[in-house]
């Protein structure tokens, strides 16, 4: 066991911090208050990711042939920590690096890899994830958006929902049904769909989280060439599960939480708010939760770095991330003084960022079910 950072890794982190200090505009807090999906952040991310890419920092851990630098997976962990802790200036592009890249690398055709991985590692493309449907959330295998083969293309009809960052996205990683609904997970296929294809309609859903957060997407006779299929027909479930493993342990949520704790304590002190014993205990407990989440997260990164298959460790880590995030989100409101109850304040911002962690990318209950089955070996609920 070795918990320390190497000299290289430490200096990489310092360089990133200097870079952020130089690149984030003075009004960054205001600009980022609606979350990574807002128009302002999506636009900012295009230039910002380009600059990261130019320094070789956007996808450092990818193989050279796909625009990376063969750096260890840990570099990406450090990058993610610094980015998320500072309000995610990569905007929605964090998803590209977290789960799209690894999934495309594993399942993409040569042509798909060449095209998409190059775009991602250049930092100028936005994606969205079309998994959930009105009647297929936790029960993803019941999805019913249909793709019928017509010559050398598919005709897609159906609806997705809760699609994050979709309004500004150029491509959708879309799950469709290509066999009878009764086949459940055996009849699902992945299509990589350009969002400007005729027949796609995106509607923003008003949310409590921030602007342009999530959307409904309607597909009416949308023609997608067979060449845009990822993997074989009806092999989509395994691909989606692979992607989810990366997504679930993608954002180092504890990094933002830990930084928030520092900010709220500084803010409370500078305003002369009393941090009594009860608050101190909560702060310390929340800090400990962030730290535990960090170690559990690293354990998953370590598995990946050693090319081991994913285990229930990632579900456990996800639950720990969620708990830490929520504890800090609550404290930010509680300790934030009167202004915490205003939109866009430190308290409100962190509360909104922390809130959906237990639902997005699979609910806490589903994660707990998976821990019970995979780690504890308990039978499924009938």
């Amino acid at each position: 066991m070795e918990f320390g950072w190497s000299e290289n890794e430490r200096s990489y982190r310092n360089q990133l911090r200097e870079f952020l200090a130089a690149e984030l505009p003075g009004n960054w807090n205001e600009m980022s208050k609606d979350g990574p999906g807002s128009d302002a952040q999506a636009a900012f991310s295009q230039a910002f990711c380009g600059k990261l890419a130019a320094r070789g920092w956007l996808t450092p851990h990818w193989p050279k042939e796909y625009g990376g630098h063969d750096a260890p997976a840990w570099q990406h962990a450090i990058l993610s920590e610094e980015m998320w802790a500072h309000g995610e200036p990569r905007g929605p592009q964090y998803m590209n690096v977290n789960w799209l890249g690894p999934t495309l690398m594993r399942y993409g055709s040569d042509e798909q890899k060449r095209f998409h991985l190059a775009r991602i590692s250049r930092g100028d493309v936005l994606w969205c994830q079309g998994f959930s449907e009105p009647n297929a959330g936790s029960d993803l295998a019941s999805l019913s958006t249909r793709a019928e083969r017509v010559g050398d293309s598919y005709a897609v009809n159906g609806q997705k929902v809760w699609t994050s960052y979709c309004k500004n996205a150029e491509f959708c990683f879309l799950l469709v049904r290509t066999d009878k609904i009764e086949t459940r997970h055996k009849g699902i296929t992945v299509l990589l769909v350009p969002m400007n294809t005729p027949g796609i309609e995106v509607r923003e859903i008003d949310t409590v989280l921030g602007d342009r957060y999530f959307h409904e997407v309607f597909f009416t006779d949308v023609r997608v060439p067979v060449s845009a299929r990822l993997g074989a027909e009806n092999d989509g479930w395994g691909i989606a599960m692979y992607a989810l493993q990366y997504e679930r342990i993608g954002l180092p949520r504890y990094a933002r939480s830990a930084r928030t704790l520092e900010l709220i304590v500084a803010d409370a002190k500078s305003n002369g708010r009393v941090i009594d014993g009860a608050f101190k205990e909560k702060l310390v407990a929340a800090r400990a939760m962030c730290e535990a989440a960090r170690i559990l997260y690293y354990r998953v990164i370590d598995q990946r770095a050693h090319n081991q298959p994913p285990t229930a460790d990632s579900n456990v880590a996800r639950l720990a991330l969620t708990a830490a995030d929520r504890a800090v989100g609550d404290l930010a409101l509680e300790l934030g003084g009167p202004a915490a109850l205003l939109y866009g304040s430190l308290g409100d911002g962190n509360f909104r960022a922390a809130m959906p962690a237990g639902v997005a990318t699979g609910t806490s209950e589903i994660n707990a079910n998976l821990v019970a089955q995979r780690w504890l070996g308990l039978p499924r609920e009938a």
Binding site: S138, N271, G272, E365
Partner: protein, 315 residues
């Protein structure tokens, strides 16, 4: 000892519930969401006045109903359950501050807000409902002061809770002292019990919403309420709500009958259990709604936000 509501109490509760369910609908509240709307509904306020919500505890001779705090908490649970807008607690308590207050409450003209001072000099001076008020009371260590809100200039803020309008003041003048330190102290305790009652209403409403949703939403071919994880979540919601309801009723009854115990303690017990129930139940409700819980359209977020506001009020 008698744990049952009296006939009158049960009738009061039922009547207020009927009124609130008919009149205080989310559709109606949404129309006044702040800051696009004014965050207040004058015609609804008038109806609440006419129902006697504000004069409830004033003598009948003064146009009130002559009831006690035990009855008032029944009413305020119902108001919380439907997210009744407006400074209900301060207006209700203000009716006890003298003839001109009880008079205008009886006439349905009283809209009284309150704020605890001093606030830290470096924090923004935020006042709820300021532009709607006709009286602003400040609670200070040495008593209660009265101010004319129309004499204050303030700016509208964008609050976390769209159903509680908030304004920022540049400066808060001293005002006219209308009651002493003791009166201010009981005001705080009574207010905290009424806030606890509203919080119980929130705990109850969010349990009802969660139940309803979990019985109709299906995943894996069955209602999500059939999964034990959710059943236990909702049993816990019920337990928290019942614990808090018992504590709030006890606080009301203790105030009316000082023989029954120490009101200050009972008030604290009510407050602590009610805030716990409201916050945790609202969160659990959002969790049970899944993705739907994060939409503006669904009701649960309004309850969580109101709980945050009440957590800060009269604390």
């Amino acid at each position: 000892m008698n744990f049952r509501l009296s006939e009158d109490e049960a009738a009061l509760k039922a009547e207020v519930r009927r009124f609130c369910e008919a009149e205080i609908t989310l559709e109606r509240l949404r129309k006044v969401e702040f800051p696009t709307g004014i965050g207040f509904d004058p015609s609804l306020w008038k109806e609440l006045s006419e129902m006697g919500v504000f004069g409830l505890r004033q003598p009948e001779a003064a146009g009130g109903a002559g009831l006690g705090l035990a009855s008032a908490v029944l009413v305020f649970v119902e108001l919380g359950r439907r997210l009744a807008p407006g400074p209900t607690i301060a207006t209700h308590l203000a009716s006890g501050l003298g003839a001109d207050f009880s008079q205008s409450a009886a006439e349905g003209k009283s809209i009284v807000g309150s704020v605890e001072v001093p606030l830290s000099a470096s924090e923004p001076l935020l006042i709820e409902y300021l532009e709607q008020l006709n009286v602003l009371l400040t609670l200070r260590p040495d008593g209660i002061y009265r101010l004319d809100p129309k004499s204050l200039s303030a700016e509208a803020c964008v609050p976390l809770d769209p159903l509680t309008p908030v304004y920022e003041l540049a400066k808060l003048p001293a005002g006219e002292r209308i009651a002493g330190a003791d009166r201010a102290q009981t005001w705080r305790l009574e207010a905290s019990v009424l806030a606890a009652a509203e919080l119980v209403g929130i705990a109850e409403a969010t349990l009802e919403l969660a139940l309803q949703y979990s019985k109709t939403r299906e995943q894996f071919g069955r209602p999500i309420g059939s999964f034990q994880a959710l059943k236990h979540m909702m049993s816990d919601m019920l337990i928290r709500k019942e614990v808090a309801r018992a504590a709030v009723y006890a606080a009301g009854a203790t105030f009316d009958d000082p023989q029954a115990g120490d009101f200050a303690r009972a008030a604290k017990a009510a407050r602590i259990t009610a805030i716990d129930a409201a916050m945790k139940n609202a969160r659990a409700c959002i969790q049970i709604y899944g993705g739907m819980g994060y939409t503006w359209e669904a009701a649960p977020h309004y309850y969580l936000k109101r709980a945050f506001v009440l957590d800060r009020s009269f604390a």
